[in-house]
């Protein structure tokens, strides 16, 4: 039996405790829903502009075009009044990306690449099979589960891509890849464009896979090993960039 759990809202609970039962192995996990990794290190708007050399006009334009998500604008009181801060690493990374890519793509195209929602792009099987985006092993495994088709919707390509990344990292086996695929197929849609992570667990030789909203801290009991954790959001970004650069 595979139990998949999804925790998006921790209504009024700082900590959620739950157990996932896999065959006869029980995995305990704690989700700390309140601490978000945005707390880690913040950068003020002023410092950000100075560091990156962009202007207020650009920053606000990118915000309007949804290149910078609303939730990154963190308001905090300082001794001069309320100021806006950003999660340092993520905003610097994002701005570097925008500056790099804005030569080749329009802001609207960029917004599409950077958004956490899948696009309505279609990729033909032959384009996918040449091994540039995903390995043929991952593609074959995917097809053995969900059958062959001539064209792939973006969501399908994403699943193959996630599978490929997990397989390439050597963290999961092909059989376990099928668990991953079935979990994604069944539950990924319910995240509706929210940021999420896919986590692969192993305990006493039994493996399972779960999806959680990101950023979220999650802890497991000692005997559980996190075999692999992938940010779906950044994978979507990578994949979109690859697809656009590959001319698809």
């Amino acid at each position: 039996m595979l139990v998949l759990s999804r925790y998006s809202d921790a209504s009024n609970n700082n900590e959620l405790r739950s157990n996932l039962a896999i065959d006869n192995v029980t995995v305990f996990c704690y989700i700390n829903a309140e601490v978000i990794d945005m707390e880690n290190e913040l950068i003020s708007k002023k410092d950000l502009l100075e560091l990156t050399g962009i202007s207020y006009g650009q920053l606000y334009r990118w915000k309007r075009k949804l290149l910078i998500p609303e939730e990154w604008f963190v308001r905090k009181s300082t001794f001069t009044g309320q100021e806006t801060f950003f999660p340092r690493d993520r905003i610097l990374d994002r701005i570097a990306k925008i500056k790099n890519m804005k030569e080749d793509a329009s802001l609207d195209e960029l917004a599409d690449i950077l958004s956490p929602t899948p696009t309505d792009l279609q990729v033909s099987r032959s384009a996918l099979a040449d091994g540039k985006i995903v390995s043929s092993a991952a593609l074959e495994l995917y097809e053995s589960v969900s059958g062959k088709g001539d064209a792939f919707a973006f969501g399908d390509v994403l699943f193959v891509y996630l599978l490929d990344k997990m397989l390439q990292s050597g963290n999961i086996s092909g059989e376990e890849g099928k668990i991953l695929l079935s979990t994604l197929k069944e539950h990924f849609a319910s995240f509706e464009g929210q940021h999420c992570d896919v986590i692969f667990l192993r305990k006493l030789g039994v493996s399972t896979c779960l999806l959680v909203t990101a950023p979220q801290q999650i802890y497991f009991d000692d005997a559980t090993r996190v075999a692999g954790r992938l940010s779906v959001t950044s994978s979507i970004e990578e994949l979109k960039t690859k697809l656009v650069n590959g001319g698809l």
């Binding site: 002023k46 202007s55 207020y56 006009g57 606000y60 915000k63 309320q82």
Partner: protein, 247 residues
């Protein structure tokens, strides 16, 4: 739903409709839609109420319309009063009269003449307003052009070029307006927390922080902190507590 054929909807007099999927919808008189309305064009004359979400390519209203959900449209023209509980999204929004939105506005071009109230953020590529304006969130537009009447309040303004002036009117209409408009209508003022942009020209504004490359502070301003990059000019009758040149 998508393949259903669209038929016109007409409400004349005092009537209601359960809503649905239409080509042209026309409400003359007192109309009420009990549910979501999806149409190509919606024209309202008189009083109308939509208890649901509105989706229309073109939405024109003369009179008063209230929507309990959100509005998605391409072209919105309002002469009269409109209030929505949800958000408002369109390419072009032209308001003459009053508009109150309890959520956010997102538009390509927004021109408002009259009362405009937004409870959350207001985003547009070009934004201009003449009249009493209240935005409780961020007003974010490439070009912001405000003509102030009465007391205006915006929590934050962000954009590229921001110009804030006191609204004026021709002498004759000034006399006419004084009959039925609030007494402070011609002496508009803006209260804001933060104003950030590239080029800023403001008048009659009270703000905590103003930050930009080029800043011109006109008469009647009271600013706690000005941070500029290239140029700064302040009118003699304005108060700026602290000014700082930043790199």
């Amino acid at each position: 739903m998508k393949h259903e054929t669209r038929k016109p909807l007409k409400i004349v007099g005092n009537s209601n409709s359960p809503g649905g999927y239409f080509s042209e919808a026309l409400i003359v008189g007192d109309g009420e839609i009990e549910g979501d309305l999806d149409c190509i064009t919606l024209k309202c004359v008189g009083n109308s109420r939509i208890n649901g979400n509105l989706k229309a390519e073109i939405f024109k209203t003369v009179g008063s319309t209230s929507v309990s959900g959100s509005v998605t449209s391409r072209d919105i023209r309002i002469a009269g009063n409109v209030d929505t509980k949800g958000s408002l999204k369109a390419d072009t929004i032209v308001v003459r009269g009053g508009l109150e939105v309890r959520e956010s506005i997102s538009a390509g071009e927004m021109r408002a003449r009259g009362y405009l109230t937004v409870k959350k953020n207001c985003e547009a590529e070009r934004f201009s307003s003449t009249g009493p304006l209240v935005v409780d969130g961020l007003l974010n537009a490439e070009h912001v052009d405000l003509k102030l009447h009465s007391r205006c309040r915006v929590a934050e303004i962000g954009g590229e070029t921001i110009s804030v002036h006191r609204g004026n009117a021709a002498r004759i209409s000034e006399i006419l307006k004084s009959l039925f408009l609030p007494p402070d209508y011609m002496s508009g003022k803006l209260v804001a927390d933060t104003i950030e942009g590239d080029d800023i020209h403001i008048e009659h504004t009270k703000a905590r922080v103003v930050r930009a490359k080029h800043i011109v502070i006109g008469p009647g301003c009271e600013i706690e902190l000005v941070e500029y990059k290239s140029s700064f000019h302040c009118h003699g009758r304005s108060i700026v507590k602290t000014e700082k040149k930043v790199k």
